[in-house]
Symmetry: C2
Subunit: 238 residues, 2 copies
DNA sequence: CGCCAGCTTGAGGAGACTCAACCTAAGTGG
DNA sequence: CCACTTAGGTTGAGTCTCCTCAAGCTGGCG
């Protein structure tokens, strides 16, 4: 492989990027090198789709940096966020679940970097690399768990609890310490929060206003800072 | 293996039982025999648990006949049905998802027959039997899909639509033609339906009463017959 | 025959949605 | 650089769905 091509498709790819990620943690340096050599890197703008619901699953992805929302569209056109994917996880692994198309749309919640491989490599990765498929299915297991959690919430909790819960989860997953509290380190709108919790942006706005008056949160446009996480946790419980 | 032991643990096990089930469809007769020889059969009464949420995942199961509800308990003690498992599917496959305990409780919705194997056999099944793990993960994919469907419903649809939807699904999955309509062929209470749809038994009762007046359904205690499935489908859409 | 799980139905009220109007920060283009 | 545009946000009023509370009914089983 020529230097120029290597630079073009893999400007920052260091083996250490993958070494500590579960699907690759049991692999040798040589194997990781081989995997990286077949990968394509892509920078995704905030709000841009990585792949679309229903499209043929031609590639599978690894989120290196950033944050991804997995969203689906209801028959009436409402967007619902099914789950969130943190850096280091695989996504678009339709192949592993016996599908030939993507079951949902993946949207970058913040500017993100993804690696990707052609789907046809999936089987050889699974066959050749010790632990790759095991670890992948562990991720799938976590997603089932997370979705089951969301079903429980939607079925049993009130909107206020669900929104509080969503905020708590967001600051845990991608909170950044700032003076005065912990900020969600990517842009997030009331609309986004409402899509995560199955409510309307109006209700979310009212809740945030109320909490801001009580000093639990501080928010500007597309920015939310949590000042009193503990109080939110209390609110999120019944 | 002695005749008496064979009869004791495998009174009805014929190879043809598994031949047409996805996880085994690619196997030879000899292999299916080997798998069956290691299986334990169990009859489960209606309402009895096959395994419990949080318990160590010592065995994995195949539902031969009957019907199974996968339920979870909310912190406040409400039961929520996360999904339904039709005959022919594997369940309790925690091992395949990198878990050591069961993530939910499996309850027989009707009298059921399950086969089971010790969890430690999972890896050897996956390694030795062509297609076993692939087909299994296809089932996992379907479950993710189903759960995502439920999230969409809970987030966007009204109670009436969700209950109508649940009924439609039940008659599709396990409807039995009877004079006057299609009956759900296992006992089901208002409470069960409310746990499937995230509502209360009162609301379900009101809805069923209303539909009965309009001739869409007919119900007795623990029995529901759908007379006009099409009308229910219409109700289930927004 | 009495008990009990399952079911029904009414009244009242709270939570959340819809509709509507308006505000404001951050771009955007002249 | 300033006016204009627009996406994002706030807030009020009215309404409706669905829950809660409550009381009573009924079929089946011991």
């Amino acid at each position: 492989m020529s230097d120029s091509l290597a630079r073009k498709t893999q400007p920052l790819l260091d083996e250490s990027l993958l070494t500590f990620l579960p699907p690759f943690s049991k692999l040798e340096s040589r194997q990781i090198r081989a995997i990286l050599d077949q990968a394509t890197t892509r920078r995704v703008e905030e709000g841009a789709a990585i792949f679309d619901e229903g499209a043929p699953a031609e590639r599978f992805y690894l989120l290196l940096d950033g944050y991804v929302r997995v969203v689906r569209l209801s028959p009436t056109g409402e967007r619902i966020t099914a789950l969130h994917i943190p850096p280091g996880q695989l996504l678009g692994i339709a192949r592993a679940l016996g599908r030939t198309d993507y079951p949902a749309t993946a949207v970058a919640a913040a500017e993100s970097i993804v690696l990707s491989w052609p789907t046809r490599l999936w089987d050889s990765f699974a066959a050749e690399y010790e632990g790759f498929s095991t670890e992948t299915y562990a991720v799938v297991g976590k997603r089932l768990e997370e979705m089951s959690e969301r079903i429980m919430e939607l079925a049993t909790q009130h909107v206020e609890q669900r929104v509080a819960n969503a905020l708590v989860r967001l600051i845990n997953q991608s909170g950044r310490k700032v003076p005065g509290g912990i900020e969600i380190d990517f842009p997030i709108t009331r609309q986004d929060l409402s899509e995560m919790t199955g409510t309307t942006l109006h209700t979310v706005s009212r809740l945030l206003s109320g909490w801001e008056k009580q000093g639990l949160v501080k928010s500007q446009r597309k920015r939310i800072m949590v000042c009193d996480a503990h109080a939110l946790v209390v609110l999120s419980q019944p």
